[in-house]
Amino acid sequence: MHPEPVRAEGGSRPVRREGAAAVELDDNVALYDDVGQLLIMLNSSAAVIWEGCDGRTTVDDMVRELTAAHPDDAALIGEDVRQTVRKLIELGLVVDAES
């Protein structure tokens, strides 16, 4: 039986889970998760998405804000944001604020 794929729906409001330490380095962010004992490096794009996971901003809001800031990349931003949020959820670093 295949596990249910993690979704990052447009209306979901991801929130950073407590217990993850974030360290800013250049344009990147190093995350350490005490629960999973994971050390992860987010590049500048992923770091912006991580910052956006505040429990109030929806995935669609993030896509809109990033598209406004980077109009040349508009075609890619939507899927990039959703993939990054899905990955952060899979790693247990982010949860849906309403779940």
Partner: protein, 311 residues
Amino acid sequence: MGIDREWVHRTPNLSALSYRFAVRTDDLSVGRQIDAALAGLRDHYETAFVEHWYSLTAAETPGGTLDVARDGQILARGQQSGDALGWVVWDVNRAAADAGADHLLFHSGAIEADGTGVLIPGASGSGKSTLTAGLVRAGLGYLTDELAALHMASGRLVPYPKPITVKRGSFAVLADIGPDACPAPGSRPWAGQEWQVAVGEGTGRAIGTPCVPGFVIVPRHDAGAATTLTPLSDTQTFFAMAVNAVNLVEHGSAGTCALGQLARGCRCFSLTFSDLDEACRLVLDLVSPETAHARAATEATAAQGGTGRAP
């Protein structure tokens, strides 16, 4: 400190970070060697309880070799004196790394330059121990050559002045600090795959004082390569330290934050080198210009035959 009548020699109480131990032997000349080699680890608190005993005893097989045990458990049998000491140093290293609750530990050399710490992280074979030894020989303060300890509460590098371990491949470039150059009085002729070079009072290799780190230098020994020092970004430095961290998981988020502070707060470089003297000159110019200048003046005087006259 009493001496058990079974043993002819025991060391003073010794400590490797928070690991406390002493070494005893039934061979006086081996005892003198060990005293000299481990002098840098003398415990300042002489009344401290000895938690672990290492024993070096004559092996049953002929040939003057030694058996090595810790707390009665055999670590190695039939070792030449140098290798027997190497076993003790290796096991002490392992134990010190396990007892790192108060320190973030790294596979790294560390030195003190004019009150500032310099970390030299790297895996075995990277050249970190050789570079550390070369810089200590040049006059910088020795903190460690293998296991750097960042005290979490104070943010300072603290000394873990184990003997400098020199591998066979570096015997030639460090011959002037080898055991043949400065044997312990009354010691046996050296025999071993590695040298354990003593540090501290009377050795000419001073132990450094606790200090805030200001530099990270990631060495890469590459035979025949030009000596180059290349700046590293905070991210590159963080990675270089993280892959060499021994107990980051134990310190978790606090350790990660400390690592981040280290990466952001230090000047960080990668160093590719094949010639040790060139590498040391480059690093000295960076971390201790005064020492570099003094050494250059000394070398110039020596080249002129000590007369001050130009050749």
